[in-house]
Structures are given as C-alpha cells and as structure tokens.
C-alpha cells in the first residue's frame, strides 16, 4: 500500500510560541484519517503546512508524494478541499459549478464535459443539472460539494467538519459516499470537533498543545483509554494532561 501523507517531526513556531511541535505520522492511500484536537491545539496550523499554504519551521513532510518545502504548488494541484462552509456558488447551476471548478483546476473542455456528466449521473441530479444550487436541499448540496472537491481526481481530499449539524440520514448518505471514494483509492483527511464523526474514520490522531498525543483506530483508542466512546477518549486525554 502506498503512503499518501508522511511527516517527520514537522514543526511550526511563531516567535516564542510552538504551534505544532514535532508531529510524526503517516496516512496510507485509501485511508480515512481523522485529525482531531481541542480548539487551539494546532490542527489548523498543521493542515496549512500539509496543503502547502504555510512553510514549516523544521521537520519533513510529503503529501501525495510531493515535498512541502519545494513542491507546494504540485501539492495544491493534487489535493481537493471541502469544508462545512465551503460554498458552491448558490447562484450558479449545478452544471456551472462543476464547470467553474473544473476550469480552476485546469481541466480541458472535454474532461469537464465528461466529469460533469459523471458527477450529475452518480448523484442522480440529471433533472436538477440546470437549476441553481441554492434551490437544492442541503444534503444534495453537500454531496455535490464533495463530488466537486474531487473534480480533478486528487489523490487526497481534505475535509473540515464535513457533516456538522446535518440530519442523521443525510450524514450517513454522505459517509457512504466517502467510503465509496476511499474504496476507490482516494485518501480522505478529516478534521472535526464531532467525536461521533471521528468514529467513522479508519484511524485517528488527537492533538494536544501542538503534539500528537494519541493515534490509532477508534477501537484501539477506546481500549487504550478504557472508554465507551471517542468523546470519552478525547475528554480523558485532554483533561488528563
């Protein structure tokens, strides 16, 4: 199995303050990896380094096979990003949104046409293809946003709280889509506050004060911390420091 993300003592300091303190971890291709931590633990800083937006102070990291120091632009081309707030353009139609993002990622006209047809068919949006996105139910918008985050066939998709606040049925439809995508070899990197969302990941890391203090499958972590749920694991870890 190939490695999608590999870091070695990755560190970022701002003046005297160490936001990310020598984190080392590896994510496999096709894995759904949950990247957790309390508010202010350093998650956002770590992710910015991984997606090529912030240069590390020290340490190593390779994302999708590219070096975060020398190949930041190549990283950006090979990853997708979706956040809870990541908005599709509500005033553009489903088709126009796909075309827009396809264009941003430099897809050729023919590729965009094929991708649009594929996304619209997979999501069952044929009748809505020429309706504005603002008129779609939230669950559909979210699945469309996810599909569009993969319009350029990225190796890794980064997601920020992908299913916060949605109803339980929509949330599951969405996770099934994530499972399917991961099953086809795309790596999924999820950050979230929602511990019940974390339980859907194959493996999880938890950051406390800039360090990764725990890592493993949800099941391993629950055993290790003698906890019933990930919520309990998190509380024990963060409070116990």
């Amino acid at each position: 199995m190939q490695t999608a993300i590999k870091t070695e003592s990755l560190t970022k300091t701002f003046g005297e303050f160490t936001a990310v303190n020598a984190i080392t971890f590896e994510v496999k291709e096709g894995e759904i990896f949950g990247f957790l931590g309390a508010n202010g633990a350093g998650k956002t800083t770590a992710i910015k380094m991984l997606i090529g937006l912030s240069r590390p102070t020290s340490g190593e990291a390779k994302v999708a096979g590219f070096d975060v120091y020398k190949e930041a632009e190549l990283i950006k081309q090979n990853i997708g990003y979706m956040s809870q707030k990541f908005s599709l353009y509500e005033d553009l139609t489903v088709y126009q949104n796909i075309r827009f993002y396809g264009g941003i990622y430099g897809l050729k006209r023919k590729q965009i046409k094929e991708k649009s047809a594929q996304i619209i068919e997979t999501l069952g949006l044929t009748e809505q293809a020429h309706k504005v996105v603002g008129s779609l139910p939230q669950g559909w918008k979210q699945r469309l946003a996810f599909a569009i985050s993969g319009v350029h066939d990225p190796k890794i998709i980064f997601m920020d709280e992908p299913t916060g606040g949605v109803d339980p049925a929509t949330r599951r439809q969405f996770w099934e889509m994530i499972y399917q995508t991961a099953n086809n070899g795309t790596t999924i990197f999820v950050t979230t506050h929602y511990m019940d969302e974390a339980e859907y990941c194959n493996r999880i890391s938890i950051m406390v004060d800039g360090r990764i203090d725990a890592m493993g499958t949800p099941r391993d972590l629950k055993t290790q911390f003698e906890a019933e749920s990930m919520d309990e694991v998190f509380v024990k870890l963060v409070r116990g420091k």
Binding site: A38, N39, G40, Q138, G164, G165, V166, D167, P168, A169, T170, R172, W175, E176, Y179, Q180, N183, H193, Y194, M195, D196, E199, Y200, T217, P218, R219, S229, M230, D231, F234, V235, V238, R239
Partner: protein
Amino acid sequence: MASIQVDQISKSFGNVQAVNAVSFAVEKGELFGLIGPDGAGKTTLFKMLTSLLIPDSGEAWVEGYHTVKDFKKIRRIIGYMPGKFSLYQDLTVAENLDFFATIFGTTIQENYHLIEDIYVQIEPFRKRRAGKLSGGMKQKLALCCALIHEPKVLFLDEPTTGVDAVSRAEFWEMLGRLKEKGITILVSTPYMDEATLCERIALIQGGNILQIDTPDHITSNYGKPLYAVRSDEFYRLLNELRDQAFALRVEPFGEYLHLTTNDAVSEQDVRDFLQANAHQNIELKPVPASVEDVFLDLM
C-alpha cells in the same frame, strides 16, 4: 402550571413551513431538550417562545405569560442564549457581564452565586475582549450573561455547537447544577448523543415533532432486533446487507453498521450469512437502540 406551554404553534417563511403545529409542555425545573438537525425549526421555535417572533397561529406561555400579549414580562424572566454568539465583541468579558446586569437593573454582586462556578473559569480573561475568546470561553460568558438577572427559564439554542468535546462535557455539567437551583431549561442540540443528558426530549425534524418522551423510553421502544456488525471489508458488508430481505435498515454508525432485522431471523442466521459471504474478522452483537437509531427510524 407548566413552566413552558406550547399549543399548536406554527410559523412559515414564504413557502417554507419552519414550525408546524408544535405542542409540548416543560415542567418547572425540568431540563428539556429539542433534538434535531439544522433546519428542523429549533431556532424559529426559540424565537417565538422568547417573544422575538410572532407565531402565524397557535399560542405559547412562559411561566404563565403569553408570548405575544405579555412579551415585556417574558423578557424580564427569561435568559436567552442564541445560537449565534451575540455578545459585544469589542467589550471585555467583565464589561459584557456588567452591561447585561445593568440593563436588567441588577448587579454582578447580587447574583454572583448563580454564575460563580462558571465565571471563575473565565475570570482570568476578564479583561480580554469577547471577540478574542475561544469557542468554549465565549459559550461560558454567554451563559453567564443569560443568567445574571436570575431568570426563571433558560433558553439555550445550540449552546454546544462548534465547541470541543471537553468544553461540551463541562457545559452539560453546569446545566445539571443550574437545574438543581430550580431553573427551567429548554436546550436545543443537533448532537443526538447529548439527548441522553436531558430529562425529556422532543425529536424535531422539518418543523414537526416526531416524538416526546424520556430518552430511556424513546430508545427502549425501538421494538425491533438491532445488531452492531463489522468486518474487514466494511463497504462491501454495507452493500451486501442492504440487499437482504431480512435487513429492514442498515446504517453506518462509526466503525460499526447498525443492522435492524425483521423478527424472522436470528443472530445465528445473520452470522451464517456473513460467513457464507466470506467476511473476515466478523463482529456481530445485539445492541440497544440509541436516540439516533430511533430518529432515523422516525424520519
């Protein structure tokens, strides 16, 4: 008399029916939860109960006061923590609290006993501007500001959304202590796992209440065999189980699938099926239903 009495209340915006003929009652000193996703109608309901929106039809009373006719009285006896952080970002922690105490004609000293165990946690930051606080701190300050005039009823609209798990746990501990002081608490949340921390809950979706009861009653009345199941090939397992006639419902629940079957199959039948399909490292166990299982079933 109930502390909050809601009778067939409705509100629509254009052609969206946000709240549809909702009725329920909350007893004095009860911790009552409105559990439902974004868009369920929770916030609209809160705004009507706090006298900020006038219902299209139906009526509601808080501590015996009518939400439309007696709106001024209601505003003096309730504490309201809106879902969106609504304190003054440019005022410090202490200034915000002082402001809310003053407009209610009281002082921080007079009601300090109510907020003490919450306020001590944010006191080290009392000179910091509210806009610069972390999510958990903002939430604690907002709760202090909602409590400072000693309200009889607290309305908390999604107080734990966007807050990390540790702060959430602390917040619920605080609510438990406030309840002991006799304050009625109506709290909303999209987190199904928080439902069990309330005395009674209403499950709400699309403007309609699906069920009202204690969390225990709601989950124990699920009424169908439910299993947690997993194997090494999770996605294949999901698709194969979905195709079976005995599977009434198959839903991902974290690292397990929740499988609801009809009464005609036994645990052994399910196990045989999994083995016949060459699944590796099979785990299969009966589990009690959670609030989320019930919610999915009612939707």
